[in-house]
Symmetry: C2
Amino acid sequence: MVSDRGLEVLRVIVQDYVASREPVGSKTIVDRHSFGVSAATIRNDMAQLEDEELIAAPHTSSGRVPTDKGYRMFVDHLADRRPLSNAQRTAIETFLGASGDLDEVLHRTVRLLSQLTNQVALVQYPMFSRARVRHLELVSVTPTRVLAVIILDNGRVEQRLVETEASVDDVLIGRLRTQCNEAVAGRPLLEAHDALGDVPELIAERDRPAATRIVDAVREQLSAQRQDRLVMAGAANLARTEDDFPGSIYPVLDAIEQQVVLLRLFGEMEAERDSVVASIGRENASFGLETTSVLVGDYRSSGGEIARLGVLGPTRMDYASNMAAVRAVARYLSRTLDAE
Amino acid sequence: MVSDRGLEVLRVIVQDYVASREPVGSKTIVDRHSFGVSAATIRNDMAQLEDEELIAAPHTSSGRVPTDKGYRMFVDHLADRRPLSNAQRTAIETFLGASGDLDEVLHRTVRLLSQLTNQVALVQYPMFSRARVRHLELVSVTPTRVLAVIILDNGRVEQRLVETEASVDDVLIGRLRTQCNEAVAGRPLLEAHDALGDVPELIAERDRPAATRIVDAVREQLSAQRQDRLVMAGAANLARTEDDFPGSIYPVLDAIEQQVVLLRLFGEMEAERDSVVASIGRENASFGLETTSVLVGDYRSSGGEIARLGVLGPTRMDYASNMAAVRAVARYLSRTLDAE
DNA sequence: ATTGGCAGTCAGGGTGTTCGAGTGCTGATG
DNA sequence: CATCAGCACTCGAACACCCTGACTGCCAAT
């Protein structure tokens, strides 16, 4: 077992190592922190920490470095909830000023988060299962191409281009538009999806195939939960701390470019409301991200829908302030989107 | 002056260096290529090339490396128009199969281009000055927030959230929607913008401020040439060739994350129709991209509007095949978008 | 439980040496 | 006059070597 002072030692090791990127030894510890005991004693504690695999030595007789398990212990039990710095506060304040549509807000948020943390920031689009359809617009772009635009009452707009085999004239489009709107207007996504099923039958036999094609495309779009997108910013930050990635950053950059991977990762991380959780180092191995840590939190969008946002960076990151930043931004984003 | 054989020597230096990342010396050249002359003669030619600053030696008595000027000479006069490989052809073919809306096509295109070239690929959104307004939709999201959706007849959809001071009821929205649509439907962007100027006057005095606010937002959106966006893929490829960037890739990653920079760069590169142009090394210095080269070509979208696409990579890149790939993808994209 | 002391380990940095690739030059040759 | 073989020279990369300094691990004493 490891003593209370042992944990204290682990904490300062994590803090010093994160700050300096240098393995930290017993002497440095007694020099920089007032433990009131000698270096030899610290060494004994460190030996215990090493037994528990909370720290490790890169090579014989060098300082120690936290292991993944050590970081885990740190975030779970040792990290103090550090308040945001003033600079960070004002950054959030100025950000608060402007407004815009959903796209714009999310983009601004992700840039903000990336600047606050100096890491890669990620924001997931909210899904809109509870949203209602406000209006459906059909536009003929070319004779055999129709653009369907779905406008939701929470401000989201979905669009989709449909290719038809036969050419479609404006009369048919107009008729379809009316019929569809009657069927879907004001309904939640799922109901709207079902209601559309009957629409093609109201269309003249001759135009039935084209109509079915168009309506099906719309239905598909309606049922596709648009939670499958995210915005990202600050990828360059990975290159700043290049040395933290053994070998090359290539695998990391490659992995984060596949949004699918990140979305799966987001999905698998459990988080309680209003808390920020971390996934550290090898815990991300199945995503090809074993050299990184990911912090995620939840936010609520207009419909009360829940989506996630977070940061990704090297395992050696400042967990305390980054988690605080994620928490603050998540809370703020909820407030912005929720405001009526 | 540099002889014909001298240029031939430059060509193989560029090719070998691009392939191997090793400075190439006179011996290697006579070994690998059949010039029919001795190494000493090649050395004389190389001396001339060095006088002309087309090649340089990283240090005394080491092989030579092309300078920016050397690459420039290569792409302008020496690069043979290499036909695409079969693998590349099939890649484009399979890509050709599917369809989708503009967003989707551009995203697929950019991924394709990045895979073909193993570089960072960029595709600019077309601008739509010639497009006409198909429909204008106003949706009240909350009492003081109205979402304006502009649907263009080329399939593009623009949206914008407007914040009003006083709350706006559905009657007003309905009235505005009708008035606006009457004013803009079927008109090109510019005309529509002007025509909207009179609309607020048709609204009751009481609601004038809110109406003006909304209409102005729409007008602003109409006149904002939406050429200010681009999609990107393959940023990870920069990390694969990390060694080509002296120091760190950080500045490069940082620069390409600022889309503004890339758009300016795109804008300043002159290109004739159907050709691909290159901007090499220090020619990009004012954009913080002096270690990279950029290849761009034009494509035409539905309205006949011209936009650009290209790739960005280390100066040491395979110009011949990359330019071929850009040309092929540009041509193909034009065909896809232009098809009626 | 804590401590001072001491021997042992090992990475990093500096130095010296060798090796070899590649150049520039020169004088000879057709 | 272009081409060529030969030779002396340069300089980076690789290697061996040695020191230094920063640590640790252990032990006997308090």
